[in-house]
């Protein structure tokens, strides 16, 4: 098959679909409320929605790595923490 060298699996397809959906959602959000919602949050950083999504995603990656290093599998705890982190970032940062 043409794409067999890429070795796709369902979990990785789902992961990238989630990223694409997140970016598409940002586009729709921007369409209905343009300007990116810039503000200065509790860290003293000037962020827009895109920055907050970036911080959430990178933060989630490190939360998962940290959980894996300290607690091991399963990763549900890391996922829960990441969602809480995402909500916190979008609310306060």
């Amino acid at each position: 098959m043409f794409l067999s060298w890429m070795a796709w699996t369902w979990p990785t397809v789902a992961f990238f679909l989630f990223i694409v959906l997140a970016i598409a959602t940002m586009g729709v959000w921007e369409h209905f409320s343009p300007g990116g919602g810039p503000r200065r949050g509790i860290l003293g950083l000037d962020t827009t929605r895109g920055d907050r999504l970036f911080i959430s995603l990178v933060g989630s990656a490190f939360i998962h790595l940290g959980w894996l290093a300290l607690m091991g599998t399963p990763l549900w705890g890391a996922l829960t923490l990441s969602i809480l982190f995402l909500i916190a970032v979008f609310k306060w940062v």
């Binding site: 890429m6 070795a7 699996t9 990785t12 990238f16 000037d46 894996l68 290093a69």
Partner: protein, 288 residues
């Protein structure tokens, strides 16, 4: 208020770039993510392994050591190259015939291919026939970069400083040249010392270019491969095995594509995070 022209068709002009980036960055990155959760023995046959490789890498002393070496190396060369680059830029002439001479001399190391730099320094530092190695030994210091870890580190750092300080010099020089003469006149009227001129005029005006210089040097040195590979091959032992050298050993030497993919993703995330922190901190100072 000024009306902003809305023309979304301009996005089509970006399409070629998007296509190129997709082929040279996104698709390979996606493939690496796919590899990182599987095991393969070649022939495009893959077995699902979940997050096993990530767990293995995170607990691997070999990875920890390579990461520590990498951070130490990057820290040392940033601490040397940035102040040295600024200092050299300050001594360079702003006008006259020597400007082009200095610029060409500074640009020379940047034009040499990385593997040639490694080979040059390898021969230059050899203790028996190399000019540098022979000289150091002639001064009574026992120096052999193929056997002593400290000597290997010294040579690698010296090579990187020689190769890349020029980049900082050229960027800092560009920043210095953009300062209008009026600033210096005002400083002279106020009777400012040379240090005050540097601290309150030159350094703030160079901030933007120095941000770029530090970011470039950080990312490049964190991903350094060719020069230490040619110079020391990661040795003696594992003394100069930096992250990328270790990564290639795992991926191509041992053909462990799964662990290598997991390691490169962790590596990528570290570079992404540190670059973001650098950039954010520096831009925040800019805004204040």
């Amino acid at each position: 208020m000024i009306e902003k022209t809305v023309n979304q068709k301009a996005w089509f002009l970006v399409a070629p770039v998007v296509a190129v980036v997709a082929f040279n960055a996104l698709i390979p990155l996606m493939t690496v993510v796919n590899y990182s959760v599987q095991e393969t023995f070649g022939n495009n046959v893959f077995f699902w392994e979940g997050v096993k490789w990530f767990e293995e890498i995170l607990h691997s002393p070999r990875f920890h050591d390579a990461l520590l070496r990498q951070m130490l190396f990057t820290g040392i060369i940033l601490l040397i190259e940035v102040p040295l680059g600024v200092a050299v830029a300050l001594t360079m002439p702003r006008r006259g015939p020597w400007v082009s001479v200095c610029l060409v001399l500074m640009a020379l190391p940047l034009l040499i291919p990385w593997n040639v730099v490694g080979a040059m320094w390898n021969i230059f530092a050899l203790p028996d026939i190399g000019l540098l190695g022979k000289m150091i030994n002639g001064m009574g210091i026992d120096y052999n970069f193929t056997q002593q870890p400290v000597a290997a580190w010294f040579t690698t750092i010296l090579m990187d400083v020689w190769h890349w300080t020029s980049l900082v010099v050229l960027l800092a020089y560009a920043g210095l040249c953009s300062i209008p003469e009026a600033y210096y006149q005002a400083a002279r009227i106020d009777g400012a010392s040379a240090w005050a001129v540097f601290r309150y005029i030159q350094l703030p005006k160079m901030k933007r270019v120095l941000t770029i210089a530090i970011l470039l040097r950080f990312m490049d040195s964190f991903m350094i491969y060719t020069e230490p590979f040619v110079l020391t091959g990661g040795g003696p032992g594992n003394a100069t095995t930096f992250l990328s050298i270790d990564l290639v050993k795992i991926a191509l030497g041992q053909f462990d594509l799964g662990p290598a993919a997991a390691m490169s993703l962790i590596y990528f995330l570290i570079i992404l995070l540190l670059s973001w922190i650098f950039y954010t901190l520096m831009m925040r100072n800019e805004a204040q």
